[in-house]
Symmetry: C2
């Protein structure tokens, strides 16, 4: 075994042991640790900002040499107004959320004095790989402690000095609490990531937070379950009865509120009957916001006929690949949906397109018909399906989860915006008095199961 | 692409399309289909039993040649008394379970006329790989239809004729219902399995039902999530205050009620203080049932001293590997737990042993102390942790789930015995009236989130 591998297994092993201790700590102990962590990061602000300044200085040079983008530089700088305070406040916000661990979600009387309980518990060990933003380490440490999971953290190399300083402060703070120090471990070298991804017996979940490339790399290189979405290819379907002002508002917001977000709109499906009635107003509003429209033949023809020539001149022709592309930019692919095709109604064709092309993130329908909306919501296989509401609502804070661990396009465990609950699983507890299975063998004279649902309040 | 691959992708593609249609069918449609399926299998009993008889004839020959075990032969035979009727009854039992799909599990008022709902929905496409027992195909078809999932089925080669006959009857029955025929597909050739395991964009869950080798093969050869446990290495810890009669009853049942089951006991940890008090009665009862005891030095010494010489002569010495072995037989590994070791109390040492050696299936403690029991239940990271109750209770029917899809030793999605619920996930639906995210930007004059929990009854 190479030095790196042994080291990755040591890290995972100590995290696993720490996770078992964490799992037995009370809610109060974990919350108290977050208070201590908050105080320490507050006290050591100068020390951490000095370390961050060294990262920023190096990154500024790299940006000047054209080796680093201005946006990475901007995200790196913890001294920007409000940023450090937001990081501190985030820790207290997480502390004040409901405890996701130890909740009884099922209680069944199997027989007299034999009670089955399902109780939420932490997953165990999380591996979180994220890019430049240095404040994420504090946020993730808080989420892990709150949910009683151990966390192994690997941040982007541009934030190295900031991470080391913050990790030092976190470790020193944890040493004053009941949380075992290896519950939060920082990994500094990039080489170790692939070895950590091989620790599938000790690490329970990987959370990559960053670019699509990062998420894809992680998904392709581990057997550990991954929480994350590589793509957010969201679609909207404009039905034949869509209200014009609803369509304009919702589609413009979905596309332009934050085009680089995973919940931004990328494809607009339009019922052929509204190509010349509803679509032109939507297209004009989008063009006014600087959106490039990549149209199929029918939609281009209709818009060319209905839009002022100067606007129509901006229209582009779509190619097949546009309907599989997450533009993350002010570009939108348009496609016409026939009112009837083969044996499919328009809404069924729209559903089929979405299920074949979208990334199962969030898709919406604009219609005034409840029936059509319900058909679309049942038929589309995505984490979020909305009726007359913007795709941009797909977000943990907006859903009211208090925090967002990530957005999942998986089909198992968690789907869509993930709150603290996504970092938990459950275990079944039985409390008996010497009960044995042989007594319930179904023979004459055997004991009978009661299987009586009990209240879940103790 | 080879012929096999293209065929696997066609199967998965048609299953995926069928799954989308299934997901939109009402509970009544799915239940009605199960009634039709039941009637068809009942009507075609002779046809199916004839096909089964051909399988049995071939298998009998193979058994005579020593190429097949008697137990496989026995499981193959659908004409054994009650077996066919049980299969039929199983379909009706599944039909009569609560619908796992379409249940609202969260409802939040985000703002006026903007409601977020979390609704359970099917996973999509299941791939089920199972061994000889031919009745499983009817059981699985029923579970899939009930939970609105499409199923691709691959059975063991010994049951080929039976499977083909049953699958024919199922397809003919489904053609009279709203269920699309490709919702249940039988795969006949073994070669295709590895190609199906590669269809991770179309298949949502693999359920291997059979030997540990099968489960391990599947887990090692797919990126699709797998529901199943390769091992059931269950442990019991006998604490210093354990009641003798409870210990004897529970441990004998755990070990001997059905030694080949995954929930049978494999390791017994014993507090050093009860080696000569509680353990001898337990050991005698186990020896009387024909259990071989593989003892560490301390437990062997204590038992040699306390048991009658004829019994003591049966004791064996354990080796390290015994504590990592799922014997699935009348063999039990014994290990002594010191009352204090390093800084660990006895229960902490027991927890550490279980977390390091067990397969996270089911582990139990025998103690009269609630406090010690709760420490053990919080500290052991297994799907089931019981106090004074047999490991053998780890079973979907015994838990009151009505059916058991499998037992999961995964840490995400589902854990322990899995009922129909494990074949579902959820989606988030939002119903709005043209709501857009830009209105909630947190600026002066922005709309405010209500985030008000609503009753989940409509």
């Amino acid at each position: 075994m190479s030095l790196t591998e042994s080291s990755a297994s040591e890290i995972a092993q100590s995290a696993s042991l720490a996770s078992r201790r964490l799992a037995t700590l009370s809610s109060d102990s974990r919350n108290e640790a977050l208070t201590v962590l908050h105080a320490a990061l507050s006290d050591e602000r100068d020390y951490i900002l000095q370390a961050n300044a060294r990262d920023v200085a190096l990154a500024t040079q790299a940006a000047e040499n054209g080796e680093l983008s201005q946006s990475v530089l901007k995200r790196l700088d913890l001294s920007r107004p409000g940023k450090y305070d937001d990081m501190l406040q985030g820790i207290l916000s997480v502390r004040d959320l409901e405890d996701p661990v130890g909740r009884v979600t099922m209680r069944t009387l199997l027989d007299d004095d034999l009670v089955l309980e399902r109780v939420t518990c932490p997953l165990g060990v999380l591996l979180i790989i994220f890019e430049a933003r240095p404040e994420v380490i504090a946020n993730i440490a808080a989420l892990a402690i709150k949910s009683a999971n151990a966390a192994i953290l690997k941040g982007g190399k541009e934030s190295t000095e900031s991470f080391i300083a913050i990790a030092e402060v976190i470790s020193a703070a944890l040493s004053k609490t009941e949380i075992p120090i290896p519950a939060v471990q920082l990994v500094k070298t990039r080489d170790i990531v692939s070895s950590l991804l091989a620790q599938d017996t000790l690490i329970d979940l990987v959370i990559p937070r960053g670019s699509n490339e990062l998420v894809r790399y992680v998904k392709d290189n581990t057997k550990i379950p991954v929480l994350g979405h590589a793509d957010g290819l969201c679609s909207a379907y404009l039905h034949s009865d869509a209200d014009v002002s609803t369509a304009v508002k919702v589609i413009v917001d979905s596309k332009t509120d934050y085009p680089a977000a995973c919940n931004a709109l990328e494809t607009l499906l339009v019922h052929e009957n509204v190509l010349e009635s509803v679509l032109p107003a939507v297209a004009e509003a989008l063009l006014a916001k600087g959106v490039s429209l990549r149209c199929d033949q029918a939609s281009k023809k209709a818009l060319t006929k209905t839009l002022p020539p100067a606007k129509a001149a901006l229209l582009q022709d779509s190619v097949d690949q546009d309907y599989n592309t997450e533009f993350l930019d002010l570009v939108l692919a348009l496609k016409t949906v026939p009112s009837q095709a083969l044996e499919l109604s328009a809404v069924q064709s729209a559903i089929a397109h979405v299920n074949a092309h979208s990334s199962k993130h969030t898709d919406i329908i604009i219609t005034t018909s409840r029936e059509v909306a319900e058909t679309f919501m049942a038929g589309v296989d995505s984490a979020g399906v909305y009726w007359n509401a913007s795709t941009r609502f797909a977000d943990g804070m907006r859903y009211g989860f208090g925090t967002e661990v990530g957005i999942s396009t998986n089909k198992i465990h968690t789907r869509g915006p993930v709150g603290l609950e996504g970092l938990t699983i459950y275990k079944y507890l039985i409390r008996g008095q010497g009960h044995v299975a042989a007594d319930y063998a179904g023979l004459p004279g055997s004991k009978k199961w009661k299987h009586q649902k009990l209240d879940i309040v103790p």
